[in-house]
Point group: C2
């Protein structure tokens, strides 16, 4: 059973993935690119038996589960960091706190096409992926053991992807991750002081300045954050206040798909197909519409090696000027 362990100083929970524990020799070759070739890809149509049985698929009416005919397919991670069965069993070990690593860890296979990528997909296909994210969030929220669902995507080996076939991941957790907790705490302080959502204020200022705006549609905005941590880091936010991604409507989703595609195309245009991490931050599950929090997507290209030391030092050095990166992104011809 995987374990969740809490750092006694700062209260950060860490997943100890005991069931895929590696031995030292596993690390010695990790400097190599681990992307597999197409013939062995478990996400190819026809290779459905290489994954655990599907949880959800959008597929032709005449096709059968775990066979070809799907255009988006969700499966449990074959090497999950967390396990879906069992109880949390919170316990101590002296001063330390831990619990069983209960949770879900799923893979969203975004397309049957191995060589596709999100920036190049048709908007309709991206919309299907966004819809799969939402459907899984809604379903996982029914499990009252879970406090949080995180959707993320690692593109490229340097961003942590071990398979090239386009996919994103969902993790359901019995705890709220520290990075989201920090946002919730900061946003609540702002709300208590100003009686306004800090993200709504940020959107208003960006729309008025326009210096950091990368994409702008009726309901969504793509901006480079003022305190950008990484070169070309870009956030996407809904203009209207909403803490819960799952309340996205079908029309919202289609518009978001287009804006996300254009944002990724711009990053690709400036940076030559960069590896990146994408993460969806939303309110904790079952919080019923928070007035102070606002869901958003953060896209972080991994183009500097120096991104390495941030998690050691805790401070970020960005060797680009955020407003300049926004301009480079705007100038890409789509």
């Amino acid at each position: 059973m995987p374990e969740l362990r809490k750092d006694p100083v700062i209260g950060r929970w860490v997943i100890i993935a005991t069931e895929r524990a590696l031995r030292p020799s596993n690390f010695k070759t990790d400097k190599e690119d681990r992307l597999t070739d197409l013939s062995k890809c478990p996400f190819e149509p026809g290779n459905e038996a290489s994954t655990p049985p599907e949880i959800l698929a959008y597929r032709r009416a005449d096709s059968r589960p775990n066979e070809p005919g799907w255009w988006v397919r969700v499966v449990p991670n074959k090497f999950p960091a967390l396990k879906i069965e069992g109880t949390m069993d919170k316990r101590g070990e002296g001063m330390y706190d831990m619990m069983n690593g209960i949770g879900a860890h799923e893979i969203i296979i975004e397309t049957p096409n191995h060589d596709e990528e999100m920036a190049l997909m048709p908007e309709m296909q991206i919309n299907e992926v966004l819809w799969a994210w939402r459907d899984r969030i809604v379903d996982l929220a029914r499990d009252k053991r879970f406090k949080y669902v995180m959707v993320f995507k690692n593109k490229g080996a340097q961003a942590g992807a071990s398979l090239q076939h386009p996919h994103s991941q969902i993790i359901a957790l019995p705890i709220v991750p520290l990075s989201v907790q920090e946002e919730l705490t900061g946003a609540l302080q702002y709300y208590e002081y100003k009686d306004r959502c800090v993200f709504c204020d940020l959107i208003q200022q960006e729309l008025s300045d326009r210096k950091r705006v990368v994409e702008d549609s009726e309901r969504f905005i793509g901006v480079v954050p003022f305190a950008q941590r990484f070169p070309f880091e870009t956030w996407i936010l809904p203009k209207q206040h909403e803490s819960d991604y799952a309340r996205t409507t079908r029309n919202d989703s289609l518009e978001l798909a287009g804006l996300l595609k254009r944002t990724l195309q711009r990053l690709r245009g400036v940076l030559d197909d960069p590896p990146f991490n994408l993460v969806l931050h939303m309110a904790p599950l079952n919080t019923e519409g928070l007035p102070h929090y606002h869901w958003h997507i953060e896209i972080m290209p991994r183009v500097t090696r120096t991104a390495g030391f941030e998690w050691g030092t805790g401070f970020y050095i960005n060797p680009t000027i955020p407003e300049e990166t926004a301009q480079f992104l705007r100038e890409v011809q789509l």
Copy 2:
């Protein structure tokens, strides 16, 4: 002038290093190893003119500044993330807060020998490096604009090192980095509840369990943290309570040098010369001995690519069992 910008949601400060701003084309080749060959190394004896004039050097009495004859040499970073001259000039831009990027950014050249590395250096040489860290901290603390000094070391290109010649770095900051602030806040909460230092308690429990102890000497302990974030992550702490690294005595320092060397040798033994980040966490400057905080060194080998997605998701998945990594490290023959 570099800028410090504050994230309006979580209050994290980011350094925007405007003066070494990169253009998009700079990123396209960043996938390559950037370590330079020896002949061009600015840290070689004889190449002293390639660096800004030295701030401090331990050198033979018959040698002259900025010439060979040194065994440890401290110079300003030629491409500093922060500038030493000027005033902070705190200001707003609408809802955003920023200030000038005032600070120091220095390089400690740890040895004249290009191919050396800390794990292989004589203990006496490591002790000289530790002493240089301390001397620079004491000197930088006199500048009342600075609230924090962070010492860190990136070893290997994958850990963010752009030069192979052994070196560490010091940054003096007008703010306390968020990672240290989190530790200070958590440690203060523990102290208010228990009237004890959380790190002192942690050391007592580790010495009694011994499951996670890697190195143990009279005054210091090397342990794998209970909630280890990265495979083989190891911390070094003084056994006696002390928040201020600068109060290390000469004898402490010599003992620490030996324990640090053995810890790095163990990591090297298990992991085949791994890239790593090392960071010294101590109390903010001029805090006069905090009862709730305890200085320590964190060593984080960079052996998993998946280390990439932590700064996106804010949660850590460690694919090793901390107690097993401690055992592997203990079993290395020194």
